[in-house]
Symmetry: C2
Subunit: 588 residues, 2 copies
Amino acid sequence: MPTRLSNYFLRTLREDPAEAEVVGHKLLVRAGYIRRQAPGVFAWLPLGLRVKARIEAVIRQEMTNAGAHEVHFPALLPREPYELSGRWDEYGDNLFRLQDRKGSDMLLAPTHEEVFTLLVKDLYSSYKDLPLAIYQIQDKYRDEARPRAGLLRGREFTMKDAYTFDYTDAGLDVSYQKQRDAYERIFTRLGLEYVIVQADAGAMGGSRSEEFLHPTPVGEDTFVRSAGGYAANVEAFHTIAPEPVPFDSLPDAVVHDTPDTPTIQTLVDKANAEHPRADGREWTAADTLKNVVLALVGLDGSRELVIVGLPGDREVDPKRAEVAFGPAEVEAATEADFAKHPGLVKGYIGPWSTDGSVLGEESATGIRYLLDPRVSVGTEWITGANAEGKHVFGLVAGRDFEGDGTVEVANVREGDPAPDGSGPVELARGMEIGHVFQLGRKYAEVLGLKVLDENGKLVTVTMGSYGIGVTRILAIIAELNNDEKGLIWPPAVAPFDVHVIATGKDPAILEVAEGVVAGLEESGQDVLFDDRPKLSPGVKFADAELIGVPTIVIVGRDAVEGFAELWDRRSGERTKVAIADLADALKA
Amino acid sequence: MPTRLSNYFLRTLREDPAEAEVVGHKLLVRAGYIRRQAPGVFAWLPLGLRVKARIEAVIRQEMTNAGAHEVHFPALLPREPYELSGRWDEYGDNLFRLQDRKGSDMLLAPTHEEVFTLLVKDLYSSYKDLPLAIYQIQDKYRDEARPRAGLLRGREFTMKDAYTFDYTDAGLDVSYQKQRDAYERIFTRLGLEYVIVQADAGAMGGSRSEEFLHPTPVGEDTFVRSAGGYAANVEAFHTIAPEPVPFDSLPDAVVHDTPDTPTIQTLVDKANAEHPRADGREWTAADTLKNVVLALVGLDGSRELVIVGLPGDREVDPKRAEVAFGPAEVEAATEADFAKHPGLVKGYIGPWSTDGSVLGEESATGIRYLLDPRVSVGTEWITGANAEGKHVFGLVAGRDFEGDGTVEVANVREGDPAPDGSGPVELARGMEIGHVFQLGRKYAEVLGLKVLDENGKLVTVTMGSYGIGVTRILAIIAELNNDEKGLIWPPAVAPFDVHVIATGKDPAILEVAEGVVAGLEESGQDVLFDDRPKLSPGVKFADAELIGVPTIVIVGRDAVEGFAELWDRRSGERTKVAIADLADALKA
């Protein structure tokens, strides 16, 4: 049975909805696919449900091909498992928490590692049961601080989350690769170009992690890649530390008066003007050591100051800092923080003063001091002398000062060398479309998932976790496939295969159109039939362009002579085709 | 591809799970269909998901046949629409409420009338758009006080909820009938016997309502039916009020001393012994008027006393009282309540005393007094004289006392006359499997859903609401289809069509079995294949009986001669069949 527009729950809008920020979202609302219910929470209209179902079908097929079994967990879960894993607290405000009528704490699950682990613990007990891959397609909840861009970052969203279980590291590698391969097939089938980038696995407690990003200039994520094949998101990028340099022959550090140098650039200018380098090379910002005071706010509300030393031509990248210091939140130090540490001379902070070490756990201030990897042994720096209006020149790392460790928070720049030696990186932007993690044994350990191995010994299971945001992918596809007239669905996910339009009020035309629709349905096409008798062709064409079914068939004046028009929504090309040849033409 | 038990996420249990109360639930857990996550909250394992998907497919097909369009709403919704309809409060503790990070009140929806109404208001504006039927299959939440019987009464459950929209009462009747017909087809296809009973529409604010009940002695609902075709649940049963009797010739009421009559029976005995009726007929409990003091607790916590007068041979039925007084909750009056009303003489409460009227809004106590319909004008009663140790005889309704109205809270009994004159009713028990409501204009009025009619006049839309509990139906089917060995699925909802068992360790048998499975799959059967190499036939048979696929094929020693055994799970009958004839035998 075709779906008839004369009797379909649909109303297209000519105006952009007020709440929509991005083009894909505007079109999904205007073309009658979704409607907003609350910030980041949407209802699905019939057209939208169809596209969602087609994406889910592709994912299910490839999960089955990868040997994964489908299960389904509730969204509403008890607190306990998430308490054991620490995520009840770690999720902070992002978790929807509630109490039932008896006062028991519950949550709306943002992801399900804990309960999948417990389920396998409940059912399985032997290495013979493994490997195991199970997945669900399910509605998840995350109380985003700023839900935005429609389905791209919602508070309720549909995810395919899969989990693998192995009892050896080698087994996990195989399971991980299978899921990774399935993801490649899924995105290829959905027509979504992707780049696989190394990602930080820290937050999930794991050892290896990769993101599938769709490269696009409007992407919200930044990633780096080299011509030699390296790709990583900025959080996962590792800086190559320079080899240590012997410093026996380096001159002693000298303190200079440097009043009126509020910025790195004014300091560099003064240095070049008043204290030029002996060899004539100009000082640059990269020769200065900038010491940035950060406050780390723990889950328990505790507040710790930490100072990071990095070259003056770099900034602290908030996302890299989040990874480096998570789960604590990173804030800039406040006046109140400084007031508690009179030993820090604002604007002139440095690791050293004429009185000795200033920064570091063993120092006068006792504040932890972490260094960018570029501040390696034997490197010389211009940095604050920890005295008003004074900087020290030629301060040598490893000789004059030491950090309490290194930290990767400096921003990554075009031209930085890829850590695998594959050459300089370029920066690009992308949208996350999938994420695969080797979780390792974190959840199994905490929740006690062990099996007997070949020798009858209890061993802790090692896990993987693999996610695709179904509704997010739908939004991305809409965002990438449209023009000023409306949506243009790739055939693999289109709500219908063909959109047949009967034009005019001539009953003869409508009769031919009915025959065309019946013939197309018989040949296996899913047809949306615009049989509305009272609308002008212009209105029908505009709706067809807005809705975005990839192939449109116009049955009009030539119908009685046996001809229709085949209209390719993407190219805009219209071709006159004999109705008898329509089914074949559509298959071509 | 067949599903292979050697590699399937399944573990059957030999022991009943501790938390299971009813047989169907025990078997669903033991056979690996579901696992409990929290009270009334379950995870679905692969077998369970399959059965659920088949039930949903039947429902979807019949909804499409009824012209309904599928949509999908979020479970997480804002408070406002439910505030406007009054249900934010009315649901009381049954509603899961929560706040988001910004402090906005939200809820997990127990049903979606409000937001469907608003969606249609958003999209439609003309009578030409109607009639409309839209539905969803979606996970709902209700914080039951006592979640029990597994999926039968869960706190998270899957429902098909449909809503119809019309602009005339006649249109609503047609839409209602279409949904009702679809329900009949659905239950017939699912093999679920049903009775359609009149139900109370009050709680949903509507005008007509029917329940589909599966009649079974273990049902949790009581309904009444007459041989003449009347059927209703007890909440909806209406008592025929006797015709008024002229009371001019009735004698005056007389007060008698009736000490030591703590029960109706002792009062009746004393009356017969000391004050026999003139005409010799014995007094019975039906001649006494019992006055029961109830406390109505409002949504706002208010507490109002009300007294109901009903024949002494009847009890207050809590479910009927709930309907009569809802949304207020009904409690028995406490000592504290009595203490506030010294005018009530406990054990001897009556509407009248020698000092005048005692009960009723205009009376000495001021307490609202509601009468059973049987207490009609001209009926004579023995009732409390509102004085310690005294009853009044021959008190005539309409002459000596009046109520503030009638109320239907007395229990219904076998033999009571059906209100439609179709004869005496019998009581039976059943399980609710569906519910259809004519909501009328309640939600449309509150939420402002109007359309322009043929004359360009704005008219308020009239609605219907139609629900089937998908997971509840699954539980009922499991409850009804099993034996001491395990589940026995009706073919329409079985997780697989055939369960093929290869017995023994002979590779030749396994090879034949592989061929059998491939052949069955080719003939369109969905096959579960027990290919586990190391298990005994006994273990495999026990698992097959527990899992409950209706047809089992055993490929054993005769396999190499070309024979298999066809095992009907329900009858237990086993037949030797030539493997070449298997596909045909299965179709038969």
